[in-house]
């Protein structure tokens, strides 16, 4: 036979569950009417009035005996809370200041970063300019050299001009010489012809004499 474990509480739990539900329904049902509300309200009012009276008497007695009451302690505690609130408000103000400082610092840092950047740019520009200046100086020197060379070339040119002139003059002389040569040639030819003619004449004369 399989042994089935007996749970004596299962049924008890179900029964109490049902009983509780029914009891609650019954009690809430009984109280669900205007009379109960009015009665409760009246009881609460009476209870409150009674407590007020007790408190008032307590305060009066304590006052006579010069003993601090709960309301005195309450007032002191309230002051502490107020101080705490002020500190809290101050803390928030400090936050705001911190935030403002952070913002300002951030702005300053950005500004400084920009300044550094500009300085760097200026430096690189300056380096570039120095380099360019150096190059310009070099170019200037080259130019001066060129100019010198150019002036030398001009002088050379002038010399060439002179030479050309002289050459032209030489050419002229040459041409004159040519002309002279030609003339000389002609003269020579003429003299040759004359000599020949004279020789012939002489020959003729000599022949005639014979």
């Amino acid at each position: 036979m399989a042994k089935e474990k007996y749970d004596p509480y299962k049924g008890f739990r179900e029964l109490t569950g049902l009983w509780e539900k029914q009891m609650n329904s019954m009690l809430l049902g009984w109280s669900d009417n205007n009379e109960f509300i009015k009665y409760s309200s009246r009881r609460m009012e009476n209870y409150s009035r009674y407590l007020e009276l007790v408190k008032k008497n307590q305060e009066a007695m304590a006052n006579l005996m010069n003993i601090p009451t709960k309301s005195d302690v309450k007032n002191v505690a309230k002051l502490t809370i107020q101080a705490e609130e002020k500190i809290d408000a101050l803390e928030e103000q400090i936050w705001n200041l911190q935030d403002t400082f952070t913002e300002v610092n951030k702005g300053n840092m950005e500004f400084f970063a920009e300044l550094v950047e500009i300085s760097k740019q200026l430096k690189s520009e300056l380096d570039k300019n120095v380099k360019e200046l150096r190059e310009a100086k070099k170019v200037k020197a080259d130019l001066q050299k060129l100019r010198k060379e150019l002036s030398d070339a001009s002088e050379l040119k002038a010399e060439f001009q002179v030479l050309r002139q002289e050459l032209a003059e030489v050419n002229n002389v040459k041409a004159e010489l040519q002309e002279l040569k030609q003339e000389l040639g002609q003269d020579q030819n003429q003299s040759k012809q004359t000599e020949k003619a004279q020789e012939k004449k002489e020959l003729e004369l000599a022949g005639a004499g014979k």
Partner: protein, 354 residues
């Protein structure tokens, strides 16, 4: 050959019974269990209110969570045991969690109203959490009356609320679980708590407990339930924690108590859009962030009809409503709350590295 008897005779399990009664004896003789919190860091303290930070185990989301709990109970229900802790469940899933613990108001706090709680404590707490986390926005999670407070806060604040999650939240007080005549008496002014509250200043926890008990005067099932399952050590441990929390009711600041009964319960100003907090009109239609409302199907304190109207009152385009099979407290106690919230929030929270 043995013949099997047709009548099954139940056998009493002596071992189980010994365990059961040992546990019952232990509960009766020992004090309350010690509740150990998940690792946390104090961020801010003002009066009785404390803001705690629970760092994510491995941070996945840049949008932190800010928990607002009810004024009626203590918020350690959200971190009641390592196995089922809502907060641990969320830090494990990669969220940074902040919890605003309202603390226990004393007689000097009688003048604290919803206005003070929302503007001087909640709004400042959220500011602190935003500053502490360095996040651009935050998700606010409100539980029970904390959900009502979170909704009012979200409707009036300029702070960057990315997501709003409310669980078992009472918004519409024209309905409720209390008998109709009680509600009617309250609405007609036949039942007023003003004088009673004025006498006390701060309503003592015993009276807050009476208020809860009046909704279910006969309450034996938790004890019968304990007796039934007292052999189970895990159940007993859970029960003890729950019992400690249930009896650990907080006092209620008088001005806020009167406001809850007057503005919310009697005049239903929040649902009607007539509530004014710190001179600002707390109109729920101002809420336009992503919104999730969770209701418990077996809630014995907040009826679904009290939560559901919020879906029509807000103007969020991205809004989700979830009805889960749980009770008012078991939603947090069973550990199911964290996965539900995570499932919805993971897509709506900023991710690390994005």
């Amino acid at each position: 050959m043995a013949v099997e008897s047709p009548v099954k005779v139940p056998v009493l399990d002596y071992e189980k019974e010994m365990k059961r009664w040992n546990h019952v004896y232990k509960i009766l003789s020992e004090g309350d269990p010690k509740i150990e919190h998940s690792p946390r860091q104090l961020v801010w303290r003002k009066n009785k209110t404390t803001l705690w930070h629970y760092a994510a185990e491995e941070k996945k989301y840049s949008t932190p969570l800010f928990f607002v709990y009810s004024l009626l109970n203590k918020p350690y229900i959200l971190d009641i045991s390592p196995d089922t802790s809502v907060i641990k469940g969320l830090t494990k899933r990669g969220y940074d969690v902040y919890l605003l613990d309202w603390g226990e108001p004393g007689p000097e706090d009688a003048d604290i109203s919803f206005d003070t709680y929302i503007l001087d404590y909640l709004e400042k707490g959220v500011k602190r959490a935003l500053r502490h986390s360095g996040a651009e926005d935050i998700s606010v999670v409100g539980y029970c009356l904390g959900g009502t407070i979170a909704s009012i806060f979200a409707s009036i604040t300029d702070l960057p609320i990315k997501n709003l999650v409310v669980a078992t939240v009472p918004i519409d007080y024209s309905v409720g679980i209390a008998p109709d005549k009680w509600l009617e008496g309250l609405q007609k002014g036949e039942l007023s708590v003003d004088r009673f509250v004025d006498v006390y200043g701060t309503v003592p926890p015993e009276w807050v407990n009476v208020m809860f008990r009046s909704l279910a005067p006969v309450n034996v099932s938790p004890y019968v339930g304990l007796l039934t399952r007292a052999h189970d050590s895990r159940y007993v441990d859970k029960w003890r924690r729950m019992d400690k929390w249930l009896n650990d009711v907080t006092p209620f600041a008088g001005a806020a108590f009167k406001q809850m009964f007057g503005d919310l319960m009697k005049d239903n100003k929040l649902a009607k859009g007539e509530l004014v907090i710190g001179g600002k009109h707390a109109d729920l239609s101002n809420i336009d962030c992503s919104f999730l409302a969770i209701s418990s199907a077996n809630d014995s304190l907040i009826a679904e009809g009290q939560s559901l109207p919020v879906m029509d009152l807000i103007s969020s385009e991205d809004k989700t409503y979830k009805l889960v099979e749980a009770g008012h407290v078991s939603l947090a106690l069973s550990g199911m709350f964290a996965p539900i919230v995570d499932e919805w929030l993971c897509e709506r929270s900023g991710k690390i590295g994005e």
